[in-house]
Symmetry: D2
Subunit: 431 residues, 4 copies
């Protein structure tokens, strides 16, 4: 079946590179959300934002007001729309209903936040060489979400053109804070998938590292808990009174060494990371404060629980050891979810119509190993009797996800838009 | 012998509190230096600043230009003089010669930088209760240098009044960056004590923790080496590819654990501190950068060398262990120096004329245990055949040096000014 | 098909309990090997031992002569046969050929060494309660190899009865040092499976923890490397000269902390254990020696290599950090191997004839997660075009493998003998 | 004053080398005590042993009965007297009263236990080269106590010759378990110095590392606490169930890393050592047991308390962190004590009569830095109004105390005997 697309490769690349230049951290994607809102509006979409699409009470690990304020100022300085920021009420999720007049049937989902990594400025790195490297120091689209949001825009354009032929409502969810695994739950709580039958989403790359390849679904997502730790000790003069201090930096170092050594779990995959540590003040002062950003993962909820409970015990006993006051704050949580076989079969069938995908490179399932906030949507859909899948769109990757040199093939953008459109139309045709 | 002072307690307290509210880090004391320059000028002094008083090439651990630029902007915003900042050429040391027309004979020295500690906002903390708490977050005059600079201003005022009776030049050195132990060496290199016979300086508190007490000299200063460490590894997705990362945060934690466990030296006092550690970026990224601020100390140069060489070996082998690139950068160095008995005797004699000091609380020597940049001046003076001492002016201390609640008795300011004046006059009378 | 067994449950329990009381470490199973040799001889078997069945040059991690001498003395004191010990030449493997006159076709394999664990003396532990607890302190049959050897004896008895009906030779390998994963390679090198077509072996318990259950094959064995580490430093008086010492105990502790924290591998299962650490001499002496017994594992050879190379790097850099001389000695190695589907199908078919096995509890494959020396045999068989499988015979387990309270159901011994016999006869019938 | 000695250098060297060949651990000096008893008896002394000279209830850290039994068997095999062992009742202290008929006035004290170090077998090491190296593996007279006991025998011989001229009783205490700092207290408790006025003892070497030198007293002894730690966790299969184990070896490593990093005390000397660590059983078993031998020291009781309490906190929180049961057992304790000036002056005066000692190498005081059980005697003497001193007899030392190559000049033995005799006679002449 021939399928004619209106969107051009040039348009997609333009969108993608604009997004790539403005990477923003989880829950602080003000420029990006404003840009998406403007582009979607220009495509004729009715864009919903704010408390209507995200339940504020369900947000874990929200940055404090000063940080959000600052992020909004930066976004404004980079050209974000003051009006859209105003309507967002500090929340960065967006929802577009193609046919709000019809009952919700199918949900497509695109995430758009970035990673806290400094993008490479090497000439071997294409975004650097071709002038669309990150403008935001310490932030980088090193996970392909700029591509996901671009595909979302392209899909919106195509579905708007075909809106009159739809039998049901198709919803496009633009999810913030996937990296923080704290964007999906507030949207689910606000009813983002309520009543829907089908869910489709996809990730660029992941385990599919060859061009023209595709995994129709994903297995092996890791349940995850994200948490921050604070230690407070007592400062003292490091030369005169070292014994008087209660060294928070030492406590942090001890905690890290032991956290990373939590025994591997015999029944499945376990993970732990301390992604950030900051401790102390002056060189000659016994450090009296330390903060750590941590996460645990497990291939089952039980394994993740084992990791997190071990971590909690280590933090607590380290605090006792170093006479620290301490706090452990939950900052995010991800569950696991399996792609439905029926949906995977449909992805395979649909992909066969798109020449870009080489059928000998199409797999039923790719491993998910990482955690993905998409699970919260799939879980919610499945709980209400619906079905979902999470595909992986293959790409050559110059470097792994979250690496400063991560990049993907822009040629996949057009076939990816076609995949989402065809999925939406096929699903719309079902009951 | 009666001794009439023109400076008032009110004036001293005013100066001290103004200084206390504007604590600045080593080599970044732009507001303070500008304030001192203005006050000294108002007292009729001819103030020398810039390359004339500090040898730029001898400065270790200078902050980079952006940081200095920012510090100057903050200082200007807080009312620093643009003209003085201009004349300083980015260097914050000051020298006042009371009789520049006569040969240099006596040097008095006052330091004025602050500590990188957040000042307490408790109502039990007098600066907080009485409204002169630090305006600069993360910086605090928790070592009494605001008092030292105040005493310097009072001493300048008194010596200017008596300038005609002087037989030689008396020089007042206002030294920046004592906490960084990197302020004295550039001043010595620029000739600050060249040709001088006598050197006198003093610290508030230290080992003298009772009001009305005094130590006429100090022993047991610790030699010290200050250095920064950088680790660079490789970022990776913490969920998908933990084994691909080269974890700089883990390297830092491992280094800290082993640095703090360097065996105590059997022949004397040894110290080590990692005062600050910063590592990693995002929570779900294997950290690829870490930086540490460290210092070692020893009661002899050899012991300090043992500590530093052990630290270097630990850093290097940790880098190998965690496959890191690394750098060790020297940021400061302090030597040890003994107070001369002849000078100590003079301090004792002079103090007997000042009722504030209770003679039963006057000691020959107080232990120095910490490191003090003053040693570089005393060493230079002694090398050219001169003599020096470093007194300790007793005070009740609500909390130890470098603690967020450190404070001292303001009543000691006036007798301290008298002590410096009398010392200058007595020494001036000698050949 | 009815199948009549001559061996009785009483006989099997008698053998098993005798073996259980005499647990011996890898390569030191002198009593056990002597006992097996005597029992097999009594059954009419021709038992081969010594250099003929184990290639001395292929043995890794052999204990030193004094330790072997001592173990033989203990064995003799416990009633081992001096004659057999003599014939063994210090090697503890045994081979029985049921029909040495015919070409080798089928190999059955039984391992018989014990674990270095102190057996529980609790009344809840059956061997303790019923009086057949380990007589050897620090050694325990906590992995069921006493059962394996017992099944081997039973199988020998049954096959000897049926020897005239065999078309080919059936070989029974009694393998020592499975726990050390260093018993199979020397036997393979000596030609133990040369020319054979089929290989069958089984483990009691493992992932099958319900009575009457059976896994027909095993997947997911871990490749493993076993190694010892020695650190040599310099002793010193801990009170007077701590800085003069080169602390081997500290080096060992540092190595352990970092070894256990080797990042999990993203592509599969990784393991590391430091099973034993001994360091230092007197309380007031800086420790100058340390030794560690370690092992790494991985679900692929590459992952195990990653673990071992990381471990090697940690040991080396720790040695540098603590100024130690060091040695890393390889003590054993295990590969991975997959059970052949054709063989698994035969196990399933055969098990259906044995009422003890409940067909709803028969699985195709059980996970192997641990490492097993059996892989060396299977690998060798497969390399020469043959086929093999490693079954798991289910049992209720009061505690996990290698735990001091491990035990298994003795009722499984008789059906297990039948399983081995039937497998041998079925395979013998094939070409 | 001329002073004629009967004992010969040959005799002293003979005794010393016999003792050197039979080094024994604290509280296990059965061969040595028996040998001393026999030699002293041969000199005509009445030797007291057993419960009369050591209060059994005051002994800390006594080895268990099996270890003592074994040590006695070894001693017997090496020629110890069964009769003396019998009389000792398992206690190894000895007391000789030169004039039991007169009131106790002066106490001389000699210690005789060895260090748990393997003696060097290098040809550069004299005891090895000349054939009197330790016969007991892992034990070595690396602290000169063989010399001390030899001097005690020589002194006994000389005082017995002069016994009729004595005005008071002179007591020779032969103290075991000085290295364990648990030999003095039980002797003090049994009344060993009750009623005495003067106490004299000496150490070979220590801070006096030149031949012909002498320190008349010692300052700076370290208070010390000796303790053992046990961790008990849970064993598990390291390949299958690593998460099920509770790893005692990891707990021990974590404890060690943190114990050694207890912050240095700002007010004086602090020490910590973990002298021995043993953990785990088999290579592939998660270790379920660990034991550590530790000691803390401090130049004041308060500093030692700080070290011990920090250590206790670390052990306890490590146990929590690794889910271990644990025990901390006190094994010994040493106090500090100062030598009396009056006694030091006498040592100086007496030494001037002995040509061996070069007066320009005689110091008032040498630093003690280590801990010495002698403090318990001096403290007890001083508490009852008496006076004491602890001298240091200089020697060239090829290697530091407790090093495997420690040795001393045998030429000092004769002048040392003269020093003890002259001190005894001078003190006897006083009231």
């Amino acid at each position: 079946m021939a399928f004619s697309l209106s969107v051009t490769q040039e348009q997609l690349v333009h969108w993608r590179r604009a997004l790539h230049q403005h990477p923003e951290s989880s829950l602080l994607e003000f420029w990006t959300a404003s840009y998406l809102a403007e582009q979607l509006t220009a495509l004729g979409c009715d864009v919903k934002v704010g408390g209507e699409v995200m339940d504020r009470a369900s947000i874990m690990g929200s940055p404090d007001d000063a940080v959000k304020q600052h992020a909004q100022e930066v976004a404004l300085a980079q050209g974000a729309s003051a009006e859209w920021l105003d309507r967002m009420e500090g929340l960065t999720g967006l929802i577009v209903d193609i046919r709000p007049d019809l009952p919700l049937h199918t949900v497509l989902r695109f995430d758009f936040d970035a990673v806290d990594v400094d993008e490479s400025d090497s000439a071997e790195h294409k975004p650097s060489r071709e002038g669309f490297r990150s403008l935001n120091e310490g932030r980088c689209h090193a996970c392909g979400h700029d591509g996901h949001a671009t595909i979302g825009l392209g899909t919106a354009l195509e579905l708007m053109r075909r809106r009159d032929s739809l039998r049901h409502n198709v919803r496009l969810i633009f999810e913030p804070a996937e990296e923080g695994t704290c964007g999906a739950e507030p949207m689910v709580s606000a009813g983002a998938v309520e009543g829907a039958r089908y869910f489709f989403s996809a990730h660029i790359g992941a385990s599919m590292t060859r061009p023209h390849s595709l995994a129709c679904g994903t297995y092996g997502f890791l349940a995850s808990t994200r948490f921050d730790v604070e230690f407070s000790g007592r400062a003292a003069h490091a030369g005169i009174d070292p014994h008087v201090g209660r060294n928070s930096l030492m406590a942090a170092a001890c905690a890290v060494s032991n956290l990373l050594a939590i025994p591997r779990h015999g029944k499945g995959v376990s993970r732990i990371n301390v992604g950030r540590l900051e401790a102390g003040s002056g060189r000659n002062v016994i450090p009296a404060h330390a903060s750590l950003m941590c996460e645990t993962r497990g291939s089952t909820t039980a394994i993740n629980e084992y990791m997190f409970e071990s971590a909690r015990r280590i933090v607590e006993s380290t605090a006792t050891m170093y006479e620290q006051e301490y706090a452990i704050r939950l900052m995010g949580r991800a569950s696991t979810a399996e792609s439905d076989a029926e949906m995977r079969d449909l992805v395979r069938k649909v992909s066969a119509e798109i020449p870009y995908f080489h059928q000998d490179k199409v797999e039923d399932l790719g491993p998910g190993f990482g955690s993905d906030d998409v699970c919260a949507f799939i879980e919610a859909i499945q709980k209400q009797g619906g079905k979902g899948t999470y595909a992986q769109i293959g790409s050559h990757l110059p470097a792994g996800h979250h690496n400063e040199r991560f990049d993907f093939d822009e040629e996949l953008l057009l076939p990816a838009v076609e995949l989402f459109c065809r999925m939406a139309l096929e699903l719309d045709a079902r009951n």
